[in-house]
Structures are given as structure tokens and as C-alpha cells.
Symmetry: C2
Subunit: 213 residues, 2 copies
């Protein structure tokens, strides 16, 4: 428990260092969903930092070994999960594929790219859990194709109740390397945020959809 | 020369083994561009074969060291080049990003994902060179952003004159691990195709756009 807790805070620190996560409680971001938010997270930028990328790759591989010991293949969620999923599958030396939450609009209209046999027991790889919607579309698609889904592993979660409930409803185990809670701890201990800002950030995560209503 | 020739035929053989490349001179495929073709190539399936994936990853890393010694970052072309580009950047331990041939339609409308500094000298990574169109869109985009493009590396090329001319015109060096020519040699030596089929396949590559006209 303590070792995984320390990985969680370590990765939260690395995401802050890389500016993959930005906190702006006073000047909220507007997400593409329209939600106003004091945080913006883009884990793809970690691909540009080889040392951070390696910690995340190895962290995912280790977490998959521990939490999904029966997995024999990984599937990255397109597009943000493709690269880091490939790296984790390389570290584990197991087959890899990637999957779009919905079919491609042109060409062969493939949703899954790669080739998984029917004995595959896959872990879906995502960069970020927000509501969980697009990840779960991939889970449903794979199950519909007769592929056994062991669960999902992601780099970071905002920790929304909505996502926890969505994964429960889909009966899909999920784990993340780091979380919003660890992020706030690190940001506070580094004095990147003060007590008032911490309260704003906590209030947001409790009800992100209606935060500024 | 002989060692790179043997890598070229080795990879052609692996692509045939994985059914990443299928030859059907008697029953042509229809590509999404509308072209009729006796060959279909989907290198993404190699992601599902760890040993083949490793040969391609290491082959790309080695080719980049040899042909682009000044490169200090890689950029994968979305989506088919993202995973293999990530693996090659990991093998080389250098920064990585990926780029769409055109901007994303929703959200932040990013074209480049990841973060490259202005001193980046990048090699663009593609799975397959057909006409070269989408790869060169990424090259143009990067140059427009002030990023130095050392060239492009891909797994396979159909070897069309059109692509050679397009890269020349864009003044962009490109290399591939394997080629249509190596593929035909391997397929013939394995007796997967006979002499008549070889002729059909050669005729196609000389003028793919008007092959069946």
C-alpha cells in the first residue's frame, strides 16, 4: 500500500513538472464537453520526456502484472492511449492492438486495429479517466467481439463519482497510477496551491458538472 | 548494403507471415482511395506479434541512428504510426510526439500532441508509404511550426514513382525498412506467387492508378 501510494504521488509530481497537469482555480479552463474546470490534464505531453515516459511505462506494466495477472494482451484507446499502451505492451512483451471508441469514418471502417485471437484476455489502456465514457465504449466493443476484458488501467483519474459508478455498472475493474487526490496532496505540499485554492479544487471534484452554477 | 538488404527481405517475410501484407493478384482489393490493387498492407497487425514488433522497433531505431544521426526526437503520423513511433523513440530514449495530417475536428483542435522544443530535429515515423500524401502533410505542418525535419522513416513502401517524386519535391529524405521489391523477391522465393502473378504485381506497381483501366 505504501509503495503504491508513493508511486501515485511520484507520478502526480511528474505530471505537474511536465505541465501535463495545470491547475488554475482562479481562471478556469473550458473543456471540450463545455464543463468549466480548474484543472487541465494532457498526459500526451509526457511522451516528450523520456524519463517520465519510462516511469509511466514501467508503472503501468507493474500495475498490470499485479492487478490483472491473467491478462495476455493490451488494447490502447485511440488516440491518447495508443502510444503509452504500446510501450506498456513492449515492457510486458505481450500482443497489442488499439481501438477507437467509435468506428473510423473513412476507409475500412475498422474500430479495432491489430489482431487479437479469441483467447485474448485484455487490459484496456487509457491516458486519463474523466467520466469514463469513451473508455467504456471500447470495453463494450471488445466484449461484443467476444474478447475477455480483464479491466482497464489508466495513468490518471479525476476521481469523479460518475466514473466510479460507470465502471461499476459495466462490471469493469479499473486502476490508475495516480489520482486527483494525490495531485492535490503534492500541489499543497509543494505550496503550488494555498488552502483557499485547495478548497476550490475539492469543491470542483465533488460536483464538476455544476461547479460554477 | 548486404545487411540492410537482408533486413529488408527479413521484414518482408515477417509482414507476409503476420498476414500484414496480403497478395491477391487474381482478386484485387479496393483501397479507400478507390484504387484497385493486388496487395493490401496493414502493418498495424504487427503490433500484435511481440517478436515481429521488436524486430521492426529495433530496425527503425537502427535505421534512424544510421541515416539521421542528428535527429533528437521522433514524431509519429496519426494514427497508424503512433504506436511503432513510440516504440522506436523508447528504444532511442528520445522525446516523442504524434501529429495528425489535419487538425482534430473536436476539442482543442490540436494537430501535434506532445511537446517539442524549438531545437528539435525530428524524424517522422510512418507505417506505410503509399502516395506519401498524409506523411508529407505532417512534414509541412512541422516545418510551418519552425521544427527542423530531418526526414521520414517508414516500415514499408509500395515504391510508387509518385511517392518518390513527392518526397523529392518536398525536399524530404525518406527511408523504409522494407519495400515492394523485397516483398516480391520473398514471395517468389517462397513460391507464394508464380511467374505470371509476379508479372501482374510488377505491372501494377509501375502504374497503380490505371492498372485495370
Amino acid at each position: 500500500m505504501s509503495s503504491s501510494e508513493s508511486l501515485s504521488t511520484r507520478i502526480a509530481g511528474l505530471l505537474l513538472d511536465a505541465n501535463a497537469i495545470q491547475l488554475r482555480p482562479e481562471e478556469p479552463f473550458t473543456w471540450s464537453s463545455g464543463w468549466k474546470s480548474p484543472i487541465y490534464c494532457d498526459n500526451r505531453v509526457t511522451l516528450s520526456y523520456p524519463e517520465t515516459r519510462k516511469v509511466i511505462r514501467n508503472g503501468l506494466a507493474e500495475a498490470i502484472r499485479e492487478h490483472f495477472p491473467n491478462a495476455n494482451a493490451l488494447v490502447g484507446v485511440a488516440t491518447a492511449g495508443i502510444a503509452i499502451g504500446a510501450l506498456a505492451s513492449d515492457a510486458l512483451n505481450i500482443p497489442y492492438a488499439y481501438c477507437r471508441p467509435k468506428p473510423k469514418e473513412h476507409g475500412m471502417k475498422n474500430q479495432l486495429e491489430g489482431r487479437l485471437d479469441k483467447n485474448s484476455r485484455v487490459v484496456v489502456i487509457e491516458d486519463l479517466i474523466s467520466t469514463g465514457g469513451s473508455s467504456l465504449k471500447v470495453v463494450e466493443y471488445l466484449r461484443g467481439e467476444g474478447i475477455q476484458v480483464e479491466g482497464l488501467a489508466a495513468i490518471f483519474t479525476y476521481g469523479f463519482d460518475q466514473s466510479v459508478k460507470a465502471f461499476e455498472k459495466a462490471n469493469c475493474k479499473f486502476i490508475t497510477l495516480s489520482s486527483y487526490q494525490s495531485l492535490l496532496e503534492v500541489a499543497e505540499s509543494r505550496e503550488q496551491i494555498n488552502h483557499d485554492q485547495l478548497e476550490v479544487l475539492q469543491k470542483w471534484s465533488a460536483d464538476p458538472e455544476h461547479w460554477l452554477d
